[in-house]
């Protein structure tokens, strides 16, 4: 299977994401100004500061030519994973519900966190068991997830809250400790922690590997 990793002007985690994907499949970079997804089987929208994060993080990137193709890919059921700034882009593009607000502490955060797998029946967590703890770093200033209460009730009931910060670990004030969610169809996921920085035992915990291996095993092998 082949991953496509989006590169916007201002992306900074696309190379780590590319390397993480290559541990589990083929992967190549996709340029923001192209419209061609090069027949990838899954799309990763990586972290960074797309288009300088001007206006609001993700607000400009969502209108890039490539994102139009990504939106179409997602509507057709293709798996799309947004990490950090990628999560912000997918929310702004309305491919995911809710929005990311500045951290309650207002500061840039950079630390290792534990997240709990709330739903292991998604293409992004199928290599995990429910209640598994994953150790993954976060690094962001605008990571406070918000959605209205009614929407959150509905999402929890539908299993769309996939990852939660472990008790006492919520670094940014996210509502109900939400760390990662999917859309209603379950084929688009966003999360603030960076699984691409947690796949190599040489560099610490490998809590992120399960996300990429899940995704790789979710895509049917082409006949």
């Amino acid at each position: 299977m082949k991953f496509g990793v989006v590169r916007f002007p201002g992306s900074c985690d696309e190379v780590d994401a590319l390397r993480a994907c290559r541990r589990f499949g083929d992967a190549e970079l996709l340029w923001h100004a192209d419209r061609d997804l090069r027949q990838v089987d899954a799309v990763v929208v990586p972290g960074g500061f797309s288009y300088g994060d001007y206006l609001r993080p993700g607000a400009i990137a969502r209108f890039s030519p490539l994102m139009e193709a990504v939106a179409e890919f997602a509507r057709d059921g293709g798996p799309v994973l947004g990490i950090c700034n990628g999560f912000q882009v997918l929310c702004e593009a309305h491919l995911l519900p809710g929005a990311l607000l500045p951290n309650t502490g207002l500061r840039f955060l950079f630390r290792q966190v534990e997240v709990v797998v709330e739903n292991s029946r998604t293409p992004f967590t199928r290599a995990c068991a429910r209640a598994d703890l994953l150790s993954i770093p976060v690094k962001h200033t605008t990571g406070r997830y918000y959605a209205p209460d009614e929407e959150l009730d509905r999402m929890e009931e539908a299993g769309q809250v996939v990852l939660r910060y472990a008790p006492g670990e919520n670094p940014n004030g996210s509502v109900r400790d939400v760390a990662g969610i999917t859309n209603a169809a379950g084929n688009v996921m966003g999360l603030m922690p960076h699984p691409e920085h947690a796949v190599d035992p040489l560099r610490g915990p490998t809590g992120g590997a399960a996300i990429f291996s899940s995704l790789a095993s979710s895509v049917p092998v082409a006949a």
Binding site: L55, A59, E92
Partner: protein, 85 residues
């Protein structure tokens, strides 16, 4: 036409920037300031002001978390005088 768009965090959305400023004011001797909220101001010139609400909905604001208010500054030349509401 010159226009001004005021963008505010929606009521009920925690505004840590506003809270921080609110706490800083008494420390500087300014008592009695409350409910500080911090938003964003966009000034622009538009040929067709009827497009402003759509611009706000699509790009300038995120309607899930922000309210916006459009002010048209008819006849003003951008000299910093008070806006005509």
């Amino acid at each position: 036409m010159k226009a001004r768009v005021l963008i505010r965090p929606k009521e009920g959305i925690l505004d840590p920037q506003g809270q921080t400023v609110e706490r800083a004011l008494p420390a500087l001797g300014f008592e009695g300031a409350a409910h500080v909220r911090i938003g964003r101001l966009v000034e622009l010139e538009v040929d067709d002001p009827s497009q402003l609400p759509a611009m706000c909905e699509k790009l300038l604001a995120n309607p899930l978390i922000e309210d916006y208010e459009v002010q048209l500054l008819e006849g003003e030349r951008g000299n910093g005088s008070d806006p005509a509401r």
